[in-house]
Symmetry: C2
Subunit: 260 residues, 2 copies
């Protein structure tokens, strides 16, 4: 599904303007506090008007083809999508064995995690095609926890969507501080995000008067949107086509509401 920017531009050069989507993508270097980061931008070049922007926050392996695919899917839906890079340019754990060290750095320093994500959000909002008053953030696993951190930090977002994200935090939401509406798409039998964490999260959100929706998908474990996770739920992480399709639909409903 990936369309290299150079190819997309070449097509534009030789074909007349068309009404349907022409997704343009490119890598984007930016910095946070002196650290060079490499994100990924996707948007439909067939129209010129400002539109909502959606931040995409990666799972614990860093920015991969998974987030590039989601950014493209969002661009096809009419949004400007920007997949952030939390870890830094070239910092891409090669396997699940190496991932916890990187992810743990940000889980262990939520202020840094939030600031790193805020830098990505600023990058998205600075895009001339983006209506900065209509932005959302979505994230997967580690990135699901990330978008919830952005919400807790009071980021100027219309909404955030977590897919099988971590839910706990040492810095719980404070009543009145959360601007974003929240949608959590959760695997009902996720062994990495247990019922106690769900219970604690719901209590946190209620106490902080957050506008949230929490959806549980039957039989789904961790990483249910990720085909690379395989198909064996007994491993604790596995792709689930029903939960993937349904959660993407629920995200679109959520966007239809917050971007109306």
């Amino acid at each position: 599904m990936k369309i290299p920017a150079i190819l997309a531009l070449a097509c534009l050069a030789v074909t007349p303007p068309i009404a349907h989507a022409k997704v343009v993508t490119r890598s984007v270097e930016y910095t946070h506090d002196g650290v060079v980061l490499e994100g990924y931008l996707a948007y439909d070049d067939a129209t010129a008007g400002k539109r909502p922007g959606v931040l995409v926050v990666h799972q614990w392996l860093g920015l991969t083809d998974n987030e590039r695919m989601r950014a493209q899917m969002l661009a096809e839906l009419g949004y400007v999508a920007f997949a952030v890079d939390v870890y830094g340019k070239g910092v891409r754990p090669a396997s699940a064995a190496e991932a916890p060290q990187q992810a743990g750095k940000y889980y262990g320093d939520r202020a840094l995690f939030r600031a790193r994500l805020a830098a990505g959000l600023a990058q998205l909002k600075a895009n001339s095609l983006v209506d900065p008053a209509r932005c959302a953030a979505i994230g997967y696993c580690f990135g699901g926890g990330g978008v919830l951190e952005l919400a807790r930090a009071g980021a100027d977002l219309a909404g955030v969507v977590s897919f099988h994200g971590s839910l706990d935090t040492p810095l719980p939401a404070v009543a009145g501080a959360v601007k974003a509406k929240v949608l959590v798409c959760h695997g009902a039998v996720d062994p990495y995000v247990k019922p106690e964490a769900v219970h604690g999260f719901l209590e946190e959100m209620e106490a902080a008067k957050v506008d949230y929706q929490f959806i549980m998908y039957s039989g789904a474990v961790h990483a249910f949107t990720q085909k690379a996770a395989g198909d064996d739920p007994a491993k604790g992480a596995a792709y689930d086509a029903d939960a993937d399709r349904r959660s993407w639909r629920h995200m679109q409903d959520f966007f239809a509401e917050i971007f109306r």
Copy 2:
């Protein structure tokens, strides 16, 4: 929103066929085990083809304007809707003080509850406009518990949707017996259907390998779809416009999937 059947028919008689919805409604008497019941049918008379059927199961006051309104809304969406009568013709508790006696009769005899609902489903499926292979049931409070009982009983339904329904049962689902997909729309702080009931329900559904989705709406208490419940969540039952609108949308997503 209610259009009396006689008025709708009168309009049809004097105006040419039109493309948009022309909802016809009427009361329907039927029986179960010698008991006379009075349900309410709604469908769009502008088209003649078979279409999915949706059973609507009332809350503990029995069949009221609330269920008639939902049946009409479903007809406007293109379904044949039939609001069942569990209690019997003319048996309509006048207040919440009188309702528990009637509701308790069926909560206390789940076999009767299931059989009474199955009679309503048979009535729906016998309608010549209904595709009997594509039927669902939705229910509110008592009726939400009712549609879950239908699912547990193995009723031939593509899906059931519970809105702020009771979740517990003395006759839990058995693995392999449930044909219907399940959607539960739940108020996150419903004081009548507490977290322990939610937890037990999720365990029951997982153990029985049911295909379910469970959605919690922030700040919503019991009866969140019912305007008559007032607007004070402190009373434990109250209307919630966000949860009402969102759950109706989620029901439509669910129908789009099960009726495709």
